[in-house]
Amino acid sequence: MGFDNPVAVSIVLFTIAISFLISYLSIRWTRTTTDFYVASGKIPWKLNGAAMFGDYCSAASFLGIAGAIALSGVDKWWIAIGFFGAWIVLLLVLAGPLKSAGKFTVGDVLVGRFGGRSLKLIAMVGTVVIGTLYLVPQIVGAGHLFNLLLGWDYMTTVFVTGAFMAMMVIIGGMRGTTYNQALQGLILIVAMFALVIVASSIYFDGNPLRIIAQAKETVSTTEAVKIGRDLLATAPTETVEDAFALAQTIREMAPETPTAMTPGVAVPGMWNQLSLVLGLLLGTAGLPHVLIRLYTVKDARAAQKSVEVTIIGLAIFYIAVLFAGLAAMMILYPTLMELLAAGEIGVATNMAVPFLGMELGGEVFLGIIAAGAMAAMLSTSVGLLISMTTSLAHDVYAGIIKPESSDRERVVFAKVGAAVFTVIAIVASIWLREQNVAVLVGMCFGIAASTFAPILILSIWWKGLTKEGAVSGLVVGLVFSLIFTFARFLEMSSVFGIPVLVNPALYSVPVAFLTIFVVSYYTSNQGDVEKFMAVAHRKA
């Protein structure tokens, strides 16, 4: 498309410019390490809740899930439900105690109970692995989006996007990141609602429930390609009415084929589904960029209230995603079928929402949707970068390598770390360009669920946990989840005779918990448990 979409490109560039302005204005509040890491714990809880919403609604939420629904129907909504469910775990068992017991990072909580530097180092490694793996799908999504908008080749796009992300963190620190994430969260929810409302108004009699009703009579595009690929050459496909007619023709050709609202078609088998939802449920409890946001407010109560704001926002957003995904399927029926027929599954999935924006409101709407998508990627990416760099600078540099370092040295180290992590993520994004961003994020959740989630939950709630149990559980969880994650990427069907599932969690989470229980049973270093529990569970 090149510069055929100057209005859309201008809208995207305008929102990026605002983000940079916010980051620039935040420089004066980013002088010390506590400012850079957690905005000195002075972020209001409502703002933090909005920022967490923006932080969490990544490219996977905004593009991946709606796109997956547009291809496969209602079954793919489960990814959104899983993303939502994770926050309930976070609120009920972690948010308050984690804020009470920690200062900057996950490592602080573990060291608060057990002392010693080794746990900080292990926590930093886990943070970096999870953060990098989560960062990749953000850049992949951005790469496809800029390719659509500007016609840049993927490589150029990935490099430019990565540079944007790194600069926002380096300039703005946590305070700039917070305001940006809150603004980007607002853009996301407005863009998603605009899609549903405009689509309903123009094509579904102003009634969003009509989207569901029509989807019940529509074969998903993934199934439609198998049935009516030949029709693409002959049937008119210029207008949305043509798209509806094509969908109806295909439905009539195969009336027994499940529709977009038929459950159980695109969901994996029982074990795959269980593994996926378990990984999603516990995953957020182990995502460092989410956890670090709990430290940006003044106390445990404020942290919990922030999480409630995020939960309500996510519920509304993810319900809207179902309607937007189904609307995209029906309105873009021939387009999506053509992409699927050409084997462009990644493009079809990740670009369904921007295509829908273009169809509904031309360049202006495309620009708004693209700005929303860019906001999703940037807000999540800067959150990841800042959590990784905080862990590196605070846990390793200040905690182990150079404890006597000055504030300035630590901030500089963190900023250099942000640049290095960005380069690593860019290289990985080139390797994984064809992967669905939602699937990539889902797998990352599996790793987080198998590492930080078990040890954080048990550190906070189980007095019997020992240091050796925590370390071994984290290491075993990380190794198991990585083995099955990479086996999945390499398309292996089994590892040591164990079938490879869509997510590693079903194996790695129980193994991590079991390792912790067994090792803790045979060891005795429970740390400063009374003092830790008193701090973590003190009355508000």
Binding site: T32, T33, T34, G41, V74, D75, W77, W78, I81, F84, G85, W87, I88, L92, V93, G96, A101, G102, K103, G112, I212, A213, M261, T262, P263, G264, V265, V267, P268, G269, M270, Q273, L274, V277, L281, R301, Q304, K305, V307, E308, I311, A315, Y318, I319, L322, H394, A398, S406, D407, R410, W461, E530, K531, F532, M533, A534, V535, H537, R538, A540
Partner: protein
Amino acid sequence: MEESKMENAMDQEPVFDEQHYRKKLKLSFTLLLVFTVTYFLAAIITTRELKDIAALEIMGMPLAVYLGMLVFIVGIVVTRISLVKNQ
């Protein structure tokens, strides 16, 4: 160092209140149990093996969609209960 100036929670000396801890433990994990039962029930029913149940139509929509909505509703309800009870 600026980092050490920030209030360090672990440096304070609150007294461990076993009763308060147990009350929090019971509340948090009871609410978590309620949510996870709803969550996994909905997840399992929508699998390929049980898709006939998930496809049952109620007022024009398949049961799977209602169960998905239920996860959101139960999630928000347990969130509110947790915040009110923890006040």
